[in-house]
């Protein structure tokens, strides 16, 4: 299967994502710079974490308006799998590819630690190798992970099973509404999540709970 990683100035988790995709798919991803207006023919596009444009203005806001994001939107509309992690999630929201917004953590603190996630919907291309209700470990590292959506949007995404990952009880690190950690688009092919599954894919990391996410999506696209 073929994948691509979007590169923007300030994104700094791309190396981890390249390592995860290479290790699990057996192929190195294409690296696509922000000024590109077209993407190679791939099955999965990933926007990694970091601090694109220093989070100036709002997290992900400037990155979301770069030319490459129009190409990402086109791929998403064609049904290509798209995944944004951390700043990548913020960029997908700012680009309008997912509903809602991510605001400053309620604690106002940068949070860097492990949390527990509950897999809310295991019936998607991103989560099919997890069990419904499964509790997994995953690291988080962010300042703006406080998910917000208005009542109508929240009701819709909850009702449609678009909330894929929720912080397990007592571990919400940022004040997110309904403990939301990761959501998928209505069409099911665009995922955004705050935690970093790419940092927990083998036992040398201290656990491999993130691996099934990659295996789910890479398997689907193979």
């Amino acid at each position: 299967m073929k994948s691509a990683i979007i590169q923007l100035p300030g994104l700094n988790r791309d190396r981890d994502m390249i390592a995860a995709l290479t290790k699990i798919s057996g192929h190195a991803p294409h690296l696509v710079w922000q000024t590109e207006t077209a993407l190679p023919d791939v099955d999965l596009v990933v926007i990694p974490g970091g601090f694109s444009y220093g989070d100036y203005l709002r997290c992900g806001a400037i990155g979301a308006r770069m030319p490459v994001m129009r190409a990402v939107a086109e791929k998403a509309a064609q049904g290509v799998m798209v995944m944004g992690v951390c700043n990548g999630f913020q960029i997908l929201l700012e680009a309008g590819l997912l509903p809602g917004a991510l605001m400053r953590n309620a604690s106002l603190k940068f949070v860097c630690r492990e949390v527990k996630l509950r897999v809310e919907n295991a019936n998607t291309a991103f989560t099919r190798f997890y069990q419904p209700g499964q509790i997994i470990r995953c690291p988080v590292a962010h300042h703006d992970g406080n998910y917000f959506a208005d009542e109508a949007v929240l009701k819709r995404i909850e009702g449609e099973g678009q909330v894929l990952f929720r912080y397990a009880e007592g571990t919400n690190p940022n004040g997110s509404m309904n403990d939301i950690a990761g959501i998928v688009s209505e069409s099911g092919n665009v995922l955004g999540l705050m935690p970093h599954p790419e940092n927990l894919i083998e036992t040398a990391h201290g656990g491999d709970d993130g691996r099934a996410l990659f295996e789910s999506v890479l398997g689907k696209a193979a």
Partner: protein
Amino acid sequence: MLKARVIVTLKNGVLDPQGKAIEGALGGLGFEGVDHVRQGKVFDLQLDTEDRAAAETQLKAMCEKLLANTVIEDYIINVT
């Protein structure tokens, strides 16, 4: 040449953790009776036009496209 000021604030009902922290700090400094502090952003822009209506249209587009995230923020445009 027109000058414009755009003010972006969080919508009512959206939690503003920074505003809350500032509110707490003001209380700590002895300023009593301060409530509902909300933090926002101000953008000052200079536009190379004398056409107010065109400037306002352009500024609105800027707000919708980049300066504000209309999911969580409102904006006010002042052209002088």
